[in-house]
Amino acid sequence: MLTTLLFVGALFTLTNAEFTVRVLKEEDGVVTGIFTDSLLLSLPPCSLEGQNVSLAYNDSNNKSWILEHIFIVPSCGNMTGTGREGHLVTSNIGLYKVSDLASGTNYSFQYHTDLEKSNVVTASTRSAQDYSGIDTVLPARSGSMIVITVILSVAMAFLLVALTITIVLSNDED
């Protein structure tokens, strides 16, 4: 009885074992993990080597997608090499690119293997702003602009006055 309970308990734990998945960030060696139509997800740990992985995701309107058997978890040695298999990239960071997403939409992702599943990670794709909205007026009157204008204008005015006085004085002498 106790053995049966222990076995059932162990089986229950195994089927609900969770590994971690996350969206990649700049610190992971990519420009960004979030694009307007795709996201970069980390891979399941290499201890699950050889297992078939599926991805389930849904958006905020509860529309869901399931990508069955998208890749096999690479071995730990393979993580240091570089490979391509569809959207799977095994480089020193290891990532999977989820494509064909809508921009500016919130999604939730979860990996499923034969025995385990990952945590649910939520992320939102970027929405591209219009470039005509970038403000290009003079940023600020910089110090150098003001200094050079003031000093040269004052010098010019002073010289004009001095030249006029010089001509007037020389005419008076004549």
Binding site: V31, Y131, P139, S144, A162, L163
Partner: protein
């Protein structure tokens, strides 16, 4: 013993040397300062030619934006630099001949050139601030004109391709500029390539080292720094040459002209 005051006639060269003995100390001092001004104005002339030649080939960025007075200021400085040189030669002649009319003419000419050079310095400094005060104008221009078919678009595309390749950079502030905003490039080529291929690192035979890695954005396969730092440093270099060196020449000229006015009142 024959002296220089002998009544015998001498060749013209000796008469000229005799006339130099009458040059006053003030006149000699003026001539010394004028020669310094000649050297400074020739240097301004040479620097302005260097800016106008635009060895970094970034003129299209300022030309397309309409804020190209850094280069217009350089052309004015070519004129004023050489005009200063010629006028100071004339000034030395006027001081040696002790002619009030010539010295007055020299003062008026110098004042006119002073005004032109002021205009050059002020507009060059102002347009530099418009162009590269922050990265907004350069970024917006890149997003609008890169991959555009118009004449301005072709110039901007060629300029940015060369800068990205030679300097090793992508986008204005970073490659994320290409995905944070929509652009002509995105409209033309879709979303398969988030950024132009000139952002990707290349092998020595100019092939892209890793196309797929570049598309994903692996830092080891593309240039992850922005190009604005390089563009800003080049335009600042041009502006310091035209605007601030011109300013220093003008400050020297200011005192020289005041000195000449005092001399004019005394002769």
């Amino acid at each position: 013993m024959r002296t220089l005051t002998s009544p015998y006639s001498y060749p013209p060269i000796i008469n000229w040397i005799k006339s130099l003995q009458e040059v006053s100390v003030a006149g000699a001092t003026g001539a010394v300062f004028e020669s310094r001004e000649q050297a400074a104005s020739l240097a301004l002339f040479a620097l302005a030619i260097w800016v106008a030649v635009d060895g970094y080939e970034l003129y299209p960025i300022s030309g397309v934006s309409g804020k190209d007075d850094i280069f217009a200021g350089a052309w004015i400085a070519i004129f004023t630099g050489f005009a200063f040189f010629c006028t100071t030669v004339f000034g030395i002649l006027a001081v040696v001949k002790h002619s009030r009319l010539l010295v007055l003419l020299y003062l008026i000419l110098m004042f006119i050139i002073f005004i032109f050079e002021c205009a050059s310095c002020i507009t060059a400094a102002t347009h530099r601030d418009y162009l590269v005060g922050n990265s907004n104008l350069v970024k917006k221009q890149m997003l609008k004109y890169y991959a555009d078919d118009s004449f301005a678009g072709q110039q901007i595309t060629a300029t940015w391709n060369r800068v990205m390749r030679e300097v090793g950079c992508c986008g204005a502030d970073s490659p994320q500029d290409w995905i944070d905003y929509n652009s002509t490039f995105r409209t033309e080529f879709g979303t398969e390539y988030p950024w132009p291929q000139q952002c990707c690192k290349r092998l020595s035979n100019h092939e892209v080292a890793d196309v797929e890695g570049c598309k994903i954005g692996l830092n080891s396969t593309l240039f992850s720094k922005g190009c604005f730092d390089h563009i800003e440093s080049v335009f600042s270099l041009y502006t310091w040459s035209v605007s601030w060196y011109g300013f220093s020449v003008l400050m020297f000229m200011f005192w020289l002209m005041l000195l000449t006015m005092v001399y004019y009142l005394k002769i």
